[in-house]
């Protein structure tokens, strides 16, 4: 078996891999923006006081209510709340880099690059572990 340095790099496959990763990022970003914007819009539509009377401090101060656990988020979404949809959009944005890493595992398999398949899998494992750490430690 040839080492990575000796094996001729398949430029076509590398290029396709780059385009795939770029596409994942673009899709993640576009979907999140759409969801975040609809959530904000709904929030404003449901709360007329957000547009004129209320001071923004009321909802940006520490202790202001918004979903910050998966359960609360699902509950808020089920009730069709704008803030829940906004949090969902932010969550999708946060997951975009994670998706990018996950897709990279497949692009490295496609590029036949075992060392990088392993490296990327470890990174994904640490990332997923960190989310559980967040859930447990928060």
């Amino acid at each position: 078996m040839l080492s990575d340095a000796e094996r001729p790099i398949d430029d076509h496959r590398v290029r396709q891999a780059e385009l795939a990763i770029s596409l994942v990022l673009r899709i993640g970003v576009s979907v999140s923006v759409l969801v975040i914007a609809s959530g904000l819009g709904l929030m404003m539509a449901n709360h007329p006081e957000y547009i004129s009377k209320l001071s923004y401090h009321a909802i940006t101060r520490p202790g202001a209510s918004f979903p910050h656990s998966l359960g609360a988020l699902i509950h808020s979404l089920a009730r069709g709340q704008g803030r829940g949809i906004t949090v969902l959009g932010i969550g999708l944005l946060i997951l975009t880099p994670v998706m990018r890493v996950a897709v990279s595992i497949f692009t490295f398999i496609y590029e036949q690059d075992p060392a990088f398949v392993i490296i990327t899998t470890i990174v994904l494992a640490i990332l997923i572990g960190s989310f559980f750490l967040g859930g447990a430690g928060g």
């Binding site: 990575d4 923004y56 910050h68 803030r83 969550g91 946060i94 990018r100 990327t120 960190s130 928060g138």
Partner: protein, 278 residues
């Protein structure tokens, strides 16, 4: 000021954060955090939560373009993410154990030092032609990119993977501990320790900061630091800014990017000192 005014104003200001962040490989927290705390009197913990979202927005928005244009060194970025994610998880564990004030002062010093080292390197622009670094050779981390400002393809070799990994580990830890400054350490790591060209360093840092931030975002979310009404306009504005910034990077001279980076680094170092001392 009504929530609607706040959302619109914050989104507009965040565009600037996105442009700067995507050009110099940072997350835009350097703009977002002081604007939120000083101008809008938002609690620092919520400002840092918004800053984490801003980092992910800058990274994903700009990297989509940089990867397509081959400005990012994908392989080096992926490899170094081993260290940044491990550092981020370590930082999330340590966050309640270490005194934050001392940390701010310590990293303020580290950033000031990196800024000076990067300024000294401002005339040395020739990329490496030979690398004896075994890890970098066996994983083939070398690359080339098309520099629009110079109008030619620039090939470069990567070295110093071990000090690079060490600095990336610290960068990941800082990101989780302080919520800011992860790109501020990544760019010097690639520029100084690994001898990567300036633009490749900022583009690759951009690519990586999203993953580092995502590794600590779960913790910030669970702690209730990501308030949607604050983070949403920041995300939208920063994404718009990152789209603009990522179109500019190729055309700007490397030396100018370096100078902008050093200025931003100085601002972050001062911010850190301030928060450590006051």
């Amino acid at each position: 000021m009504s929530p609607l005014d706040f959302v619109i104003l914050m989104a507009l200001i965040s565009i600037i954060a996105g442009v700067i962040g995507s050009l110099v490989g940072l997350g835009g927290g350097v703009v977002v955090v002081p604007v939120l705390t000083l101008l809008f009197h938002v609690d620092i913990r919520l400002a840092i939560g918004a800053s984490i979202v801003s980092v992910i927005a800058t990274s994903s928005g700009a990297a989509a373009a940089y990867v397509r244009e081959r400005m990012t060194n994908l392989r080096a970025g992926m490899f170094l993410e081993l260290a940044t994610t491990t550092g981020a998880v370590t930082g999330a564990y340590l966050t309640t154990l270490l005194p934050p004030r001392a940390l701010f002062v310590f990293f303020g010093v580290v950033l000031a030092y990196s800024g000076i080292a990067m300024y000294r390197k401002r005339h040395a622009v020739a990329p490496l032609e030979v690398s004896t670094d075994r890890i970098s050779n066996s994983l083939n981390l070398h690359g080339s990119y098309y520099d629009e400002a110079e109008g030619r393809e620039i090939a470069y070799r990567v070295t110093g993977t071990k000090p690079g990994l060490a600095m990336m580990y610290v960068a990941g830890m800082v990101s989780a501990l302080l919520g800011i400054g992860s790109g501020a350490l990544k760019v010097p790591a690639m520029d100084l320790a690994m001898h990567m060209p300036m633009k490749v360093s900022t583009a690759t840092s951009n690519f990586m900061i999203g993953v580092t931030a995502a590794a600590s975002a779960g913790v910030y979310f669970a702690r209730g630091q990501i308030n949607p009404i604050i983070a949403a306009p920041v995300a939208i504005g920063v994404l718009a800014g990152a789209l603009v910034g990522s179109k500019m990077l190729g055309r700007i001279e490397s030396k100018s990017i370096r100078i902008v980076f050093i200025v931003v680094l100085a601002v972050i170092a001062i911010e850190m000192f301030q928060r450590g001392i006051t």
